[in-house]
């Protein structure tokens, strides 16, 4: 059978691979090459070694956005996962209206980041106006505004994953723990949480990368104001490319650094949590 299928390579694989080569592989390789070049368009690139990378180190706005993004990611990962887990615990108790609540909490996920950004800009600026402030008054307001927005959007998504995880834990396990005299806290700590490790792995991974790669919401809510202080990594890279001519190479070098950070996080996080999962 394998031989018969093999002849069909051009029909089955080629279209996807061509698109993959144009849309992914070529831009990726060209991107790595260009990060070592000075250029304003792709055709006038001149190789200049690592000086784009050394320029990044002196870019205080970039370093600030790196820490700002890191802090944002940590806070949002913890808040979203804790809230989603608590809501999931309540919505698996069989209370009335569970389906309606689930529907409501998940809904913001279908709305795009740009639209979400402007919705929350209206609401948060409206509230802050009572204190004679706006979201762009200082980067702290932008930070917490973005945190609230991301919680509102993602708690529902993670809740869905936690609910399906909780429902797949066999009832006998918690029953047995109860009979052995475990309090509800102990049952949660020693039975539910270890059994939920696969869901926790997925949700931390998703919230971690979503936080790190955040762009649309950042652009719409504050656009980095005031004076680029609420600018996250992705937006910083975008502004380096399109904000200033002559800095395209630096932008590309930043993008490579960004990619490396995301890749390392993904690998480390995956290793760490997978090792703690319960074998079934």
């Amino acid at each position: 059978m394998e031989k018969a299928i093999k002849k069909y390579f051009p029909i089955f694989v080629l279209p996807t691979m061509l698109a993959f080569a144009i849309g992914f592989i070529a831009p990726f390789l060209l991107g790595i090459y260009l990060s070592f070049c000075k250029f304003t368009t792709v055709t006038d690139a001149k190789f200049i070694g690592i000086s784009n990378y050394t320029k990044i180190l002196g870019d205080s706005v970039f370093i600030h956005s790196l820490w700002y993004t890191a802090l944002f990611t940590v806070v949002s990962v913890i808040l979203i996962n804790v809230l989603a887990f608590i809501v999931a615990m309540f919505l698996t108790k069989g209370i009335r209206g569970t389906n309606v609540f689930r529907t409501v909490f998940f809904m913001p996920n279908l709305i795009g980041g740009i639209i979400l950004g402007y919705i929350w800009q209206l609401l948060l600026n409206g509230i802050l106006a009572h204190f004679q402030r706006t979201l762009t008054y200082s980067s702290t307001y932008g930070f917490w505004g973005l945190i609230i927005l991301m919680c509102w959007q993602q708690v529902g998504y993670m809740m869905i994953i936690y609910i399906s995880g909780i429902q797949s834990i066999p009832g006998e396990l918690t029953e047995a723990a109860k009979i052995d005299g475990a309090s509800s806290w102990q049952a949660l700590r020693h039975v539910t949480l270890p059994m939920l490790m696969p869901s926790i792995t997925i949700c931390t991974f998703l919230t971690l990368t979503n936080g790190f790669k955040l762009f649309d919401q950042n652009l719409a809510l504050t656009n980095g104001a005031p004076s680029r202080m609420s600018e996250m990594l992705a937006l910083n890279i975008y502004n380096t490319f399109y904000g200033r001519t002559g800095y395209e190479g630096v932008g590309q070098a930043k993008a490579v650094v960004f990619f490396l950070i995301v890749a390392v996080i993904a690998l480390v996080q995956n290793k760490l949590t997978r090792s703690r999962e319960v074998q079934q």
């Binding site: 059978m1 394998e2 018969a4 093999k6 069909y8 089955f12 694989v13 279209p15 996807t16 691979m17 698109a19 993959f20 144009i22 849309g23 992914f24 592989i25 831009p27 990726f28 060209l30 991107g31 260009l34 792709v42 309540f90 919505l91 108790k93 209370i95 209206g97 309606v100 609540f101 529907t103 409501v104 998940f106 809904m107 996920n109 279908l110 795009g112 980041g113 740009i114 639209i115 919705i119 209206l122 609401l123 600026n125 869905i160 994953i161 399906s164 997925i202 949700c203 998703l206 790669k213 762009f215 649309d216 719409a220 975008y238 395209e248 932008g251 590309q252 993008a255 960004f258 990619f259």
Partner: protein, 279 residues
């Protein structure tokens, strides 16, 4: 124990009902403000539009005119439907091939797909937009090809994960009965893979419909806009936003999503769970 549980349940229902109402409040707020005169929106966002503030449909008319929203809606629909259809067709075929033919090429393809899922878009955005321009892919039709390339990683990963679990005997029997690989794929493998198709459709639709950065860089935005591009277009170059038009545009953008969600809710939630388990 039994009575305590029901009593608690009743309180929880009330608490969660209130939280749900609060959860919907931001969307309701935009809806309410869309009927307000634009000068009053930033000043009194929480007030109900009374006679002096009420403007009827004016904001909607102006928003649609300023952004060309209906053509953006059309292009968003066109791009999403055809990109997702192409992704499903091409990636399911590719995934079947690489899960049935074992050699160096197929294992390299698979590794690339895993790799593609980790790479952030910022790594590719500049070079991709230049390449797309050079190859004249800066139209909605060209965008479909780019989405195929960009969405291939996740789709192939999901499809091949499922197809590995299909018993080989079924396909072998079909081939012995004289089916060509193409017939085997379309008459047997693809119908069996329907649940995975639905999952991939849901995940890709949620991504492509809401995607802002990729189309805004690749498309010639003077000619073609998608919904997120139209919304961001209102922001304009320097500072002030026409809040009235913005509210109208936001409401019109949200309505199709909510309708789609209410009709396909079951599939969407199942798709998200299935996608998460395999991802």
């Amino acid at each position: 124990m039994g009575t305590r549980k029901t009593k608690n349940g009743w309180i929880l229902t009330v608490v969660f009902s209130m939280i749900s109402l609060l959860y919907l409040y931001p969307i309701v707020l935009v809806f309410v403000n869309s009927f307000k005169k634009k000068a009053y929106i930033s000043k009194y966002p929480f007030k109900i539009p009374t006679d002096k503030m009420y403007v009827g449909m004016e904001n909607y008319v102006r928003g649609v005119e300023k952004t060309g929203l209906f053509s953006a809606l059309g292009w968003s629909l066109f791009i999403t439907v055809f990109s997702v259809a192409v992704i499903i067709l091409c990636c399911s075929m590719c995934a079947w091939y690489i899960s049935r033919v074992k050699n160096k090429t197929t294992s390299v393809i698979y590794t690339f797909c895993l790799f593609a899922m980790v790479v952030p878009f910022q790594m590719e955005m500049y070079t991709l937009s230049k390449i797309a321009n050079m190859l004249h892919l800066d139209t909605p039709w060209g965008l479909i090809i780019i989405y195929l390339g960009f969405g291939a990683g996740l789709a192939i990963f999901m499809f091949s994960g499922f197809m590995k679990s299909i018993p080989l005997e079924i396909e072998e029997a079909a081939m012995i009965d004289g089916c060509t690989p193409l017939q085997t794929f379309f008459q047997i493998v693809l119908p069996i893979s329907k649940p995975t198709c639905i999952t991939v459709v849901i995940l890709e639709v949620m991504w492509i419909w809401n995607d802002y950065l990729l189309p805004s860089l690749v498309l010639d935005t003077k000619k073609y806009k998608t919904i997120p591009i139209a919304v961001q277009y209102l922001k304009g170059g320097y500072g002030s936003i026409d809040m009235g038009a913005m509210m109208g545009v936001l409401v019109i953008s949200i309505i199709p999503i909510i309708i789609f969600y209410l009709f396909c809710q079951k599939y969407i939630i199942e798709g998200v769970i299935a996608g998460a388990v395999k991802g």
